[in-house]
Amino acid sequence: MKRIFFLDGSGPPFGHMLLALGGYLGGFDGNFLWNRIGAEYSSNVPVWSLRLLPALTGALSVPMAYQILLELGFSHCAAMGAALLMLIENALITQSRLMLLESVLIFFNLLAVLSYLKFSNSQKQRPFSLSWWFWLMLTGVACSCAVGVKYVGVFTYLLVLAVASVHAWHLIGDRTLSHVRVLCHLLARAAALLVVPALMYLLFFYVHLILVYRSGPHDQVMSSAFQASLEGGLARITQGQPLEVAYGSQVTLKNVFGKPVPCWLHSHQSTYPMIYENGRGSSHQQQVTCYPFKDVNNWWIVKDPGRHQLVVGSPPRPVRHGDVVQLVHGMTTRFLNTHDVAAPLSPHSQEVSCYVDYNISMPSQNLWRLDIVNRESDADVWKTILSEVRLVHVNTSVALKLSGAHLPDWGFRQLEVVGEKVSRGYHESMVWNVEEHRYGKSQEQKERELELHSPAQMDVSRNLSFMARFLELQWRMLTVKSDGSEHKYSSSPLDWVTLDTSIAYWLHPRTSAQIHLLGNVVIWASASLATVVYALLFLWYLLRRRRSIRDLPEDSWLRWVLAGALCAGGWAVNYLPFFMMEKTLFLYHYLPALTFQILLLPAVLQHISDHLCRSPPLRSLFSALVVAWYSCACHVFITLRPLTYGDKSLSPSELKALRWKDSWDILIRKY
């Protein structure tokens, strides 16, 4: 919105961009802090237009449910039923009335399914016609939008892909078609369902990165190179630094891995304690740590072991891959050193220190070989920000590594840096890059200290290519770990089916009007029941068909299977994966799965009335039951309405009456 860079673990940028678009059209300037639930929106926030999009997509889902059931080959009655059920589902209404992404996701999920159905129906009549192409393309676009809104959308995409590949396999088996024609069909599908979504997805990121070019709160997570490509923040400092690191350069070294926190190689006057708590001894030399804040003690000077100068000569002599260097700590002028002494917290690795020469028994071992990891050739020059380097100790062939452990109080709770055998394998925590860099000019220590305190200022700016930035952003998004903190309203997937949980979204500051995410109990229960009935019936028919007993005519069997594959399958793929996720889960994660379940419900009902109720009186009895059940659902909807819309303040006793399950956390004010 304010074009500030941010990082969100739950989804790619498309959904947020859509919301922002709504706000932009409504004239929102982005000056509102979204920090507290229940805070009043100030007058400059166009709440209506920000909430328009989710509401619109939520509303459109209803007619789409109707269309989907029609395309699946069910009657208008069943389709009407599906639409009406979607209409009175309290949870979907609540979710789409607020500025949340679930309803957008559901919309695109349904759109993908609908357009695939339209496509496969037109396949029979007019392949390669205009509408055929349109629906095929729309499937791909809707799929990529669903994935673009939230990663959960990928499950629906996979489902559509699976159904499409089964259909394609049948197509290959169709011997009435010529080889060329089959190939054309396959290529068209591959283009629309694989290439188009991939391109769309890239496009979202492209737009995202173009729009969001200022640095923001999540900068720290990204690499220096990425940060440098954003406006403000690090780029303000690094803009115009010399590119090539030369002997005499003053640099700060940032760990590439950056876990548990991003930090810079650091040293300070304090030494390692003589004896640790557990009785092991140390070298008692100056500590080298990794420090998560910018500090003057993060500056190091690259020195040629053969010379004494600490300034850059003219012309500067660049450092290349494989060169042996010494690193001098700027403020204390001591050499980075490691030796065969166990590190304080990781006794299997070597201690890294800055060498202090009062301990005669240990010679200094301060030669490091530069190993540029992402080099293009062996003669590559060490570049600021871009080069990722390992510093390999010449004598003991250990590499400088961030162990991730926090030192105790004597190390000021900074992070431990150790030397780890290179042979143990490559790991990102061994890799460092130069972040800030300038050519050192002052020969005297006093002047140098002054120089180190002054900010670095230099000339050229560099930009990463889009692909590099995209790949990095994508990787960080997938690997960013949300701390699995428990939340008052978090729940486990098992609670969802039985609606054993609720989420309070908002409570009026004075009255007890409130908004809760609560489903329509009747619909939830009957939708789950319908899924079970479907599974049992399907198994029964399948086994009977295997014994060549055909209860259903061929075409209605195929319809039954397709409905099941898309609706029951849609439910399963949107629900079951949550059992394997470790992040904090909420009830609203279930809504996409629920939508598919609701679609299945009228299909099962129609099937029962068409095929299992054999006599007309039975059939009318069944219809009457369905009507009674539906009015029951309507009644529940109206009863829960105050919690869905939050427009009516209820008395405590009314609220208590609404608390049908003990686990529902309805807020009751104490007066």
Binding site: I172, F257, K259, P408, H427, L543
Partner: protein, 750 residues
């Protein structure tokens, strides 16, 4: 066919040996199967030479077995010190011999077998197995190593027979056997006291018996059919009983069984009753039998290990009561909790410990400056609490008062016995978990305020409203704030003596963190009962040990900043595992697959996928294949398909696992992929030979191709054998090293 060359000589000299080494497997072949295989062999032998042919097959099998045993047992005694995980599994074997209870994340069968092998071979269980590199000295370790090597050697003939059964082609089977015999990785893994050879043995045996019973399918309910079916079940139980990885082979057999039943169901010539019989037979042999055996291993496990040992603390108090030497064993304490009792309270989650307090205050700035309350893993007098009524402070032990039991829902006060402060909570944030409330000790001589009141609730209220020692799971709910007493499991800093944090959590979720039980219980007014009454039943023990194992497995998380082996490293043989020795003077053993074999396997999987999809699409398009190609593609799709499924099942699940992974986890998958390689190259060469017109040229291509594969593998084994058999001398960078020039990847570390 090339192998026929050596048959005569091999046969004469191998005869006497077959009785000893190859006994089990030669029986497995069975004359009928061999004959059937011969009949279907693409090169149909003349009628008269059939006997000779059958004898040749036996000799070939014996040769394969002998070679496998020879490579596996060669220099088995070296190095005479503990290598790598021998320190765990050898130790656990010793525990069985000493009958001390221990805890491990794997099921017990594998370690039991190791223990048994050690026991039979005269090992007395006195060696400590402290750390890798310790010398065995006079202890007899060869029995245990020999047992593992024996099972490891059987893998090769098993693979040979599986491939023979699936492809009916001797050269394919021979190629597979050569790949496995000459793989340095399999060889190394079979030579030490580890669970992996045992696990792989059961996996391959299950696969073999499954394949065998598939080929008996034309004679259902005959004796061999029953034999192989039940043997499959037994091996499944074995695989699962060694490591939970055995689950994957169960999935494979399950899949095979379901598709088998599906075919039977579709066969309209069979009556429903017959299909029902088939189903019942499979349920009996593949579900009931393995489950019984699996449970039986646990029964033996608990029966044998009846002494208190290092694993006690992992288990609940009730469980510990059955171990002799534990202080709960044969103890007698009052059964029901009464006011005035002195108790210890233990958290139900593993490795949290007892509710504890001591005369130290929370430091400045961390909540209120009141006395710390923590959990502590060791038994200590500071764990003792007195349970009191909330409203009276009279000494309930005064003999004039009647005994009053604590009931579910009572409001109580817990007074710390040593410091006489009350368990207390209030609206201050907890030291580490900021969203929870702080728990402190408060008050003087038992007089505090209303924040000391807790409601006691029993979660498993089967036993009425009283609270039973050990068995009742209780929750303590703070009356004023409504929060639940729990432990977050986080370690407090130094001011808290690195004990674990206790908090009061406002989230009323039922987690084990907030459930406690009463362990020690002292009340002179109550009659003592023997704890034996409270002993858990066998199903409860079984369930508990599984819960503990699963939690233990989930607890093995890799650290962020450590180098860890990733599943994608494995098939490319990216990095091995160091079994022994680091420096150039040490005796070094390095677990690494023979790169020639492994990269060939990798190539073969890609080729297989390509070839398989070409054939599948061709068939789907209705292309008419010549009879010869038709047969080959059947072998490739069905036999190869099963092996590919096995490879995928034993490989891909590792991508989803959160626990720490090691290179050796890939080896079961590697066995399947080697078998696939055997079938693939045989088929591929036959297809090449078929497409060449002239028959002499065709045979030439076939023979040369096969021979070069066999010899190439053997030569690569010659190159890499020091990895497995151990090497001394300079590291590979040095030209004088035995491995000079063989460090083909930078990441190999020898």
């Amino acid at each position: 066919m090339p192998p026929a060359v050596g048959e005569g000589s091999a046969r004469s000299e191998l005869r006497p040996r077959r009785g000893r080494c190859g006994h089990q497997v030669t029986r497995a072949v069975g004359p009928d199967v061999a004959a059937a295989a011969a009949a279907r062999s693409p090169k149909r032998p003349a009628r008269g030479s059939r006997r000779f042919e059958a004898a040749g097959r036996w000799a070939l099998l014996a040769l394969v077995t002998l070679l496998s045993f020879a490579t596996r047992f060669h220099r088995l005694d070296e190095p005479p010190h503990i290598c790598w995980d021998e320190t765990h599994f050898g130790k656990m074997g010793s525990y069985y011999i000493n009958r001390t209870f221990f805890f491990d994340v794997h099921p017990p069968l594998g370690k039991m077998l190791i223990g048994l092998a050690g026991y039979l071979s005269g090992y007395d269980g006195t060696f400590l197995f402290q750390k890798p590199g310790d010398k065995y000295e006079h202890h007899n370790y060869m029995g245990m190593r020999g047992f593992c090597a024996f099972l490891g050697s059987l893998l090769v003939p098993f693979a040979y027979l599986i491939v023979l059964e699936l492809s009916k082609s001797l050269p394919a089977a021979l190629l597979t056997a050569a790949l496995l015999t000459f793989d340095t990785g399999c060889l190394t893994l079979s030579q030490y006291i580890l669970l992996d050879p045992i696990l792989m043995f059961f996996i391959m045996a299950a696969m073999l018996s499954m394949v065998k019973y598939n080929s008996c399918a034309n004679r259902p309910f005959s004796a061999p059919w029953w034999f192989w079916l039940s043997l499959t079940g037994i091996n499944l139980a074995g695989a699962l009983g060694v490591k939970f990885v055995g689950l994957f082979i169960i999935l494979q057999v399950g899949w095979n069984t379901i598709s088998d039943l599906w075919h039977l169901l579709g066969d309209l010539s069979l009556s429903v009753v017959t299909v029902g019989k088939h189903l019942t037979a499979r349920i009996l042999c593949l579900i009931v039998l393995p489950l019984t055996l699996y449970t039986a291993t646990y029964a033996v496990h608990f029966r044998v290990l009846n002494k208190s040992g290092p694993g006690d603390g992992f288990f609940s108090s009730a469980f510990q009561a059955r171990l002799s030497g534990n202080n709960l064993h044969n103890a007698s304490i009052p059964e029901h909790l009464a006011y005035g009792s002195v108790i210890t309270v233990k958290n139900l989650r593993m490795a949290i410990g007892y509710l504890h307090s001591h005369r130290h205050l929370y430091p400045e700035g961390i909540g209120a400056r009141q006395q710390q309350v923590t959990t502590y893993l060791h038994k200590d007098y500071n764990n003792l609490w007195i349970i009191k009524k909330h409203n009276t402070n009279a000494d309930p032990l005064d003999p004039s008062f009647p005994v009053e039991f604590v009931r579910h829902g009572d409001i109580i006060r817990l007074e710390h016995k040593e410091t006489s402060r009350n368990l207390h909570s209030h609206y201050h944030e907890a030291p580490l978990t900021r969203k929870h409330y702080q728990v402190t000790g408060y008050g003087i001589n038992g007089t505090g305020d209303s924040n000391d009141f807790w409601r006691i609730e029993v979660v498993n209220r089967r036993f009425g409203n009283r609270i039973r020692v050990l068995r009742s799971r209780i929750r303590l709910i703070h009356l004023v704030t409504g929060c639940v007493l729990g432990s977050s499991g986080k370690v407090l800093p130094k001011w808290g003596w690195e004990q674990l944090e206790v908090t009061c959590t406002p989230y009323l979720k039922e987690t084990l963190n907030s459930i406690w039980n009463v362990e020690d219980h002292i009340n002179p007014k109550l009659p003592n009962i023997s704890l034996d009454v409270l002993q858990p039943s066998f199903p409860e023990i079984l369930l508990e040990s599984h819960m503990v194992m699963i939690r233990g497995n989930n607890g093995l998380k890799p650290k962020d900043n450590e180098f860890t082996s990733k599943p994608w490293h494995w098939p490319i043989n990216y990095q091995g595992l160091r079994f022994s020795g680091i420096n150039d003077t040490d005796f070094r053993v390095y677990l690494l697959g023979n790169p020639v074999v492994w990269w060939l396997n990798l190539l073969s999987i890609a080729l297989y996928l390509l070839l398989g999809s070409i054939i599948a699409v061709a068939v789907q398009r209705g292309a008419r294949l010549p009879a010869e190609v038709e047969g080959l593609s059947q072998v490739l799709l069905q036999g190869g398909g099963q092996l590919l499924l096995g490879w995928m099942l034993h490989y891909f699940p590792f991508f989803l696992m959160g626990r720490i992974l090691y290179f050796h986890h890939y080896f079961p998958a590697m066995l399947f992929s080697s078998m696939l390689t055997g079938i693939l190259w045989d088929t591929l060469l036959r297809l090449c030979a078929w497409s060449l017109a002239s028959s002499s040229l065709a045979r030439g291509v076939y023979v040369v191709g096969l021979l070069s594969l066999l010899l190439g593998t053997a030569y690569s084994f010659y190159l890499f054998h020091p990895l497995a058999y151990g090497m001394v001398g300079p590291l590979a960078q040095d030209p004088r090293s035995p491995m000079a020039g063989l460090k083909w990847l930078e990441s190999w570390d020898f």
